[in-house]
């Protein structure tokens, strides 16, 4: 038995990355970043606000959190709707109480179905970024390019109509991109994408159509990963986020501003028994003198405005 000889060819074995989307870079040798008002840790809370059709699509893949039982899956359809009707309002109230501005990555279906939620998000000062059409709008390389483009444009245009201005940011469902996604996002006029998880600061990604900022939202620091997948408690999540904050604020003294990302899902965090611990976490972070609660757009703008 032997392998195809090509298995031992390494055509991309070279200095730097094995692709051209972005260049290699050591976080600790970059010029230090300074956030506004002398703050050193940008706390970036991102909420995934999603609508799951009761008829799930497996093309190109079924979204995490989607229907699980045979049709009609009332259990998961309604439990996800709980997050939208109830959980997200618990989160919004908690944000208001703690003075937190968040980024909400919303399916376009939320704007179509529940325009009052969009109004409430905007009234709270939160930023809305596009999160595809609905939870059947998944992207992967086997999705034809014209279908992916149509999905991106529909999400963009729906929010443009609902908000009055085009959304500047994008997050794919499950952060899953095709080879084409960054270019299609550039072509659609997006300024930043929140899919990659390889950095603690923004960086520039380059496509044949131009550049786009990649703003990492660590997928591990999320209620989906820590609570739904890894079965940890909100108390543990809070401890981990506080430990992360402690580390980053110390690191920032020597190396410049840092970002602490936290991704939330209304139907996970927004349950009654988790909210007290979550609010205590928010209050604790809000009391930190180093904390700057910032939206994705505010972080990208501040970062882009600094000499590098």
């Amino acid at each position: 038995m032997s392998l195809d000889p090509a298995y031992l060819d390494y055509p991309k074995r070279r200095a730097g990355m094995d692709h051209d989307l972005y260049t290699a870079s050591n976080l600790f040798t970059r010029p230090p970043v300074a956030w506004p008002d002398g703050k050193s840790v940008a706390v970036a809370i991102l909420v995934n606000l999603e609508w799951f059709p009761i008829l799930p699509s497996d093309t190109p893949f079924r979204a995490p959190g989607h229907m699980q039982t045979p049709y009609p899956d009332y259990r998961h359809y309604t439990a996800r709707e709980y997050g939208t009707r109830v959980g997200s309002y618990r989160l919004l109230d908690a944000f208001a109480k703690a003075g937190v501005k968040a980024t909400v990555a919303a399916n376009a279906a939320i704007a179509e179905r529940y325009p009052s939620i969009i109004a409430d998000l905007l009234a709270g000062g939160h930023e809305i970024i596009a999160h595809s059409t609905d939870m059947n709008g998944t992207i992967a390389t086997d999705l034809p390019e014209d279908e992916e483009r149509a999905l991106i444009l529909k999400a963009r245009d729906t929010f443009t109509q609902a908000i009055g201005t085009a959304p500047r940011g994008w997050q794919s469902i499950a952060r899953s991109q095709s080879w084409n996604t960054p270019r299609l996002l550039v072509e659609a006029g997006f300024d930043y994408m929140c899919d990659w998880v390889n950095d603690d600061l923004p960086y520039v990604a380059t496509t044949s159509a131009g550049t786009i900022v990649s703003l990492s939202f660590n997928h591990e620091l999320s209620d989906r990963q820590l609570i739904a997948v890894q079965q940890q408690s909100m108390d543990s999540v809070a401890q981990q986020v506080e430990d992360a904050f402690d580390w980053l604020k110390d690191e920032a003294i020597r190396f410049g501003g840092r970002i602490l990302p936290l991704t939330l899902t209304p139907y996970i965090t927004g349950l009654p028994y988790r909210m007290d611990a979550f609010e205590a976490l928010l209050d604790g972070l809000a009391a930190r003198p180093e904390a700057w609660f910032a939206t994705a757009g505010e972080i990208v703008d501040s970062w882009q405005g600094q000499a590098r």
Binding site: R14, H19, N26, N198, D199, D200, L221, A244
Partner: protein, 308 residues
């Protein structure tokens, strides 16, 4: 190994009692080595017939980006913490990292870390290789590490833990003295090979950070407590005969801001304890080959069956 036999014949049976005493330098009871896996995962690797590289169609943005975090952020954070507490790494190296990220490799080399091979890429598997192909990746590993660091590799951890029946014979033939692929003991021991002398180096895979976080779903603090308990037990047992504790790490996991703080407390604990020989894998191998190997062979002979 005995290819095709139900017992692969890798080593002799030696129960964990009445063994010849292993004595580590200066009366230490447990040899502690930290093994950062410095890896490169390709974004679009060719398919191996027996194992898929990524669970999703390429590009698997989250999977790839997660690993890339190591070279942009995690390594630098982990290396500084290790240096602060006097721990030199013993690197399980995807040798193509010498091409892609020579700054990471040079940093580790400058810190006095040892390198052994973890294959060319962690997305190229040994399954299905013929002997010439396997020799090619071994020779590539030896040559690449020597050119990049001046070091001659003495050990092997199969790429993504993919083995062939001839791997151990081959690495021994090329002069390597230890394998990190056998998990049958907390002490080093002789391995049967066709030529040369090869020992099994305890790699403590059950406390690998990947196991801690994704097999056992531990929080960072639970993982840190696990390492301390592992250490305390092995340090105590080592008074009878010296033990080995490896801390196998991936900086894209342990180097994240919510994990590195609790992990630093582990290194602080071990460094302050006094019973640990804080060292590198090659030093453990040298010591055992010189002072313990023959005794271990004699121990095993007491249990040899007539028909073995």
């Amino acid at each position: 190994m005995r290819d095709g036999k139900t017992d692969p014949g890798l080593y002799d049976f030696r129960p964990y009692r009445d063994r010849a005493k292993i004595e580590w330098p200066e009366g230490k009871t447990v040899a502690v080595w930290v093994s950062p896996n410095l890896e490169f995962y390709e974004i679009d690797p060719p398919a191996n017939p027996q194992r898929k590289s990524w669970p999703k169609p390429h590009p698997d943005v989250v999977g790839y980006g997660h690993r890339d975090y190591a070279n942009r952020v995690g390594h630098w954070r982990l290396a500084e913490v290790m240096e602060r507490h006097g721990f030199k790494g013993s690197v399980s190296l995807s040798v193509a990292l010498c091409q892609h990220h020579p700054d990471v490799v040079a940093n580790a080399n400058d810190l006095g870390w040892e390198f052994f091979s973890h294959g060319i890429y962690n997305t190229r598997y040994s399954y299905g290789m013929d002997e010439a192909q396997e020799r090619a990746i071994i020779e590539d590993s030896i040559r690449t590490v020597r050119e990049a660091t001046g070091q001659t590799i003495r050990g092997w951890l199969a790429p993504a833990l993919t083995h062939t029946p001839r791997t151990l014979d081959l690495i021994a033939e090329y002069g390597m003295t230890y394998t990190c692929d056998l998990y049958h003991d907390d002490q080093p021991g002789p391995v049967h090979v066709a030529s040369g002398r090869l020992i099994s180096m305890p790699y403590s895979i059950e406390v690998n950070d990947h196991y801690g976080f994704f097999v056992y779903n531990m929080s960072p603090r639970e993982y840190a407590e696990t390492l301390i308990r592992q250490y305390e037990r092995l340090a105590a047992e080592g008074a009878e005969s010296g033990t080995v504790m490896c801390i196998p790490l991936h900086s894209y996991l342990i180097g994240q801001p919510h994990r590195i703080g609790p992990f630093e407390e582990v290194l602080r604990h071990i460094a302050a304890d006094g019973r640990a020989w804080i060292t590198r894998s090659g030093d453990i191998a040298d010591h055992f080959l010189a002072h313990g190997y023959d005794d271990a062979v004699a121990d095993a002979a007491r249990y040899a069956k007539a028909d073995a």
